[in-house]
């Protein structure tokens, strides 16, 4: 997906070392490296990948330390500053001052109408969206791995029926299903006449999105385990009397780990943006929970008068998605040199 300039077929340092190494220092030069070490050295050489990894880690740190950051910064995402301090908003509810009211106290300005602090909201919004996105990714990856590997390994009728079920789900209008089923699932847990706790809302969003998020992973792993099943070493394990569990976990899984890791890195940004999209449409998280998608929803109401408010979540989400996509690509390149892009 990136500029296809990085040459992955560079000579490995270990070869260089053994070729140029002194005959006397042989034991040193021939030190073996694990596949992980090789991948790491390959990853380090990809400059774009390293930069993107830095950005990704930064976002994750922001998400983890959101309370610390806003504590040091001194503003809370839940306090409507505009209603307390009349000098912040003008009569029509718009922030006073350049760029949506940016100031030393409110670094990225304040929102129109209520006057929440945008920076604090953004930090907490990243926490919510990234956290939910991560939960969805883990849940759908687990379902995808289990069903995909089982399909490939067991085969036969099970493979056929799960395959058709996958087809069925793949053909559905995903977004519409999220919209329709999130409230239904919420109703399963909490009756309509009672207040919905935030964790229940999170749980329903995760369940609904994970239900329609595992198919790509399952497809991929089915194909891979189908071909791995026929390899000699699996046959050898079978002949020597290994149980199915042992074959799956000790023989197949190590060979699938790379694919799974890459798939998960590519899945996460999609899930985060899907969660944000759902909240944008008004069926995910609701006020006052700070959320990336909710910021968009609020900002698009005011974009004609206050474009800065829209730019903050927009650009931060864009940087996140670009960095994560490039990071996923470089992880794939580092782990699998055979990938031709």
């Amino acid at each position: 997906m990136t500029t296809p300039t990085e040459d992955t077929t560079e000579t490995e340092p270990v070869l260089v070392a053994s070729a140029t190494g002194d005959a006397g220092n042989k034991p040193n030069a021939l030190q073996g490296r694990t596949p992980g070490q090789i991948a790491w050295s390959r990853f380090k050489r990809n400059r774009i990948g390293v930069i993107c990894a830095g950005i990704v880690i930064l976002y994750i740190l922001v998400a983890i330390f959101a309370p610390v950051i806003t504590g040091l910064y001194g503003q809370s995402p839940y306090i409507p500053y505009g209603t307390r301090d009349m000098s912040l908003l003008d009569d029509s509810g718009l922030p006073i001052g350049a760029n949506g009211g940016m100031s030393a106290a409110h670094w990225l300005g304040i929102t129109p109408d209520a006057g929440y602090d945008i920076f604090a909201k953004l930090v907490y919004g990243i926490r919510t969206s990234l956290g939910i996105g991560l939960l969805i990714t883990i849940a759908s990856a687990i379902v995808g791995i289990v069903l995909g590997v089982a399909q490939g390994y067991i085969g036969g009728r099970f493979d056929y029926f799960v395959g058709r079920f996958t087809d069925l789900l793949l053909g559905l209008p995903t977004q519409l299903f999220f919209i329709a089923f999130t409230p239904i699932v919420e109703n399963w847990f909490v009756p309509a006449d009672r207040a919905m706790p935030v964790y229940m809302r999170v749980l329903s969003v995760v369940l609904v999105q994970a239900f329609l998020g595992w198919m790509a992973t399952a497809r991929l792993l089915r194909g891979m385990s189908l071909s791995l099943r026929e390899r000699e070493y699996v046959e050898a394990a079978k002949i020597s009397g290994a149980s199915s569990w042992r074959i799956i976990f000790k023989e197949l899984m190590p060979n699938l780990a790379t694919t799974i890791l890459v798939q998960v890195t590519l899945l996460l940004p999609t899930m985060v943006t899907a969660e944000a999209g759902l909240s944008f449409l008004g069926v995910g998280m609701v006020d006052p929970t700070p959320d990336w998608g909710l910021m968009f929803q609020d900002a698009t109401r005011h974009y004609q008068d206050d474009l800065t408010y829209l730019m903050v979540p927009g650009i931060s989400l864009m940087i996140f998605a670009v960095a994560f996509n490039l990071f996923g690509d470089s992880v794939r390149d580092a782990l699998d040199p055979k990938t031709i892009r």
């Binding site: 997906m1 990136t2 500029t3 296809p4 300039t5 058709r164 087809d167 069925l168 793949l170 053909g171 559905l172 209008p173 995903t174 977004q175 519409l176 299903f177 919209i179 329709a180 089923f181 999130t182 409230p183 239904i184 109703n187 399963w188 009756p191 309509a192 940004p269 943006t273 944000a276 999209g277 944008f280 449409l281 008004g282 069926v283 968009f296 929803q297 900002a299 698009t300 974009y303 004609q304 474009l307 829209l310 979540p313 927009g314 989400l317 864009m318 998605a321 670009v322 996509n325 490039l326 031709i340 892009r341």
Partner: protein
């Protein structure tokens, strides 16, 4: 070819029936009392509740209700005092005081025009950019094309949409506020009204097609039959368009078929962003009003539409690549 189509159609019918069954039971057997939801909260009396129950046949056991619903889809259904609900009967929306099908049929053209137009735009731009980068492989142009598509893939419709509105509608005033006008009424207005939504919606899809077309073209161009055609003295242009592009197009159609669902999802977000009255708008409205019949109707209608489009795409693929028909 006919056998292929029949087989696909039969498979689709089974899937549609399964789908209706699954969604119906998810909606009505596990959720709260649908009559209670349909009853307007302010003026709900026990009489009204009982009336809704008898109109919608909610007193019957669930499997009979399901059978009524299913047969209603094909032959219509009598809904008590509400009168006869004609053939594709998706029930009655108490919230809007109309039959669900009337609501859907008023809203779906906007979504279809948006989805189809958007798909045409992103196919044109994606395939164009992909061919351009394959042609100028390794140059600056190639890198710019892939960077553009990467950024496009990483943006959100609900971010680009308002930005484009602010720039083209309010600032430069090149276009009016996007709205849907039926094509039969005003073809030009339909085009100018939807141009901005089409373009905005297409952005997130460019990247995939650019990348795929680029690598497929490069792969095709290194094939033996291309070299043979060149050796025969065929012109570069002829080889490029008639041999390489045709070979690259078949997998692209498959990818497009897989993407149909996301195209529809994109259309929903786009219409919500631009406040166009379409199916997505209807779905969000029905969810906010807890209007179960409307929700279910929109869901089933769009899933069936996507399945049908999928068959069309498969048929196109089978036309392009004769090997598929035998599989």
């Amino acid at each position: 070819m006919l056998r292929f189509l029949i087989r696909r159609a039969l498979g689709a019918i089974v899937i549609i029936l399964l789908l209706i069954c699954l969604t119906y039971f998810a909606f009505f057997s596990l959720a709260v009392d649908p009559a209670q939801l349909a009853c307007p909260p302010k003026s709900c009396t026990p009489e009204l509740l009982a009336q809704i129950r008898s109109n919608m046949h909610l007193n019957l056991p669930i499997y009979q209700q399901f059978w009524n619903y299913l047969s209603g889809l094909f032959v219509g259904q009598d809904l008590g005092q509400l009168g006869h609900c004609a053939a594709p009967c998706f029930g009655y929306s108490y919230n809007s005081q109309r039959f669900v099908w009337d609501e859907i049929s008023a809203n779906y053209p906007a979504t279809f025009v948006l989805a189809i137009g958007g798909a045409v735009v992103f196919l044109a731009i994606g395939v164009g950019l992909g061919m351009l980068s394959a042609w100028k492989q390794g140059t600056m142009l190639d890198r710019v094309a892939s960077s553009i598509s990467l950024i496009g893939q990483s943006t959100q419709i609900y971010f680009v949409g308002p930005l484009a509105m602010a720039l083209f509608v309010y600032n430069l005033q090149w276009l009016g506020i996007p709205k849907y006008v039926p094509f039969t009424q005003d073809p030009v207005g339909c085009f100018t009204g939807m141009l901005l939504p089409w373009l905005v919606m297409s952005i997130i899809f460019w990247a995939n097609y650019t990348r795929q077309v680029r690598s497929l073209m490069l792969e095709q161009l290194s094939e033996d039959h291309i070299r043979a055609a060149r050796a025969k003295g065929m012109s570069n242009r002829y080889v490029w368009w008639r041999y390489a592009l045709r070979g690259a197009m078949a997998p692209i159609i498959t990818i497009f078929g897989i993407d149909l669902g996301s195209v529809f999802s994109g259309a929903i977000i786009t219409e919500y962003t631009f406040s166009i009255q379409g199916l997505g708008f209807l779905a969000v409205k029905s969810v906010n009003n807890a209007d179960l019949y409307l929700e279910l109707g929109v869901l089933i209608f769009s899933s069936v539409a996507i399945l049908l489009f999928n068959i069309v795409v498969d048929a196109a693929y089978a036309l392009l690549d004769p090997r598929v028909r035998l599989a």
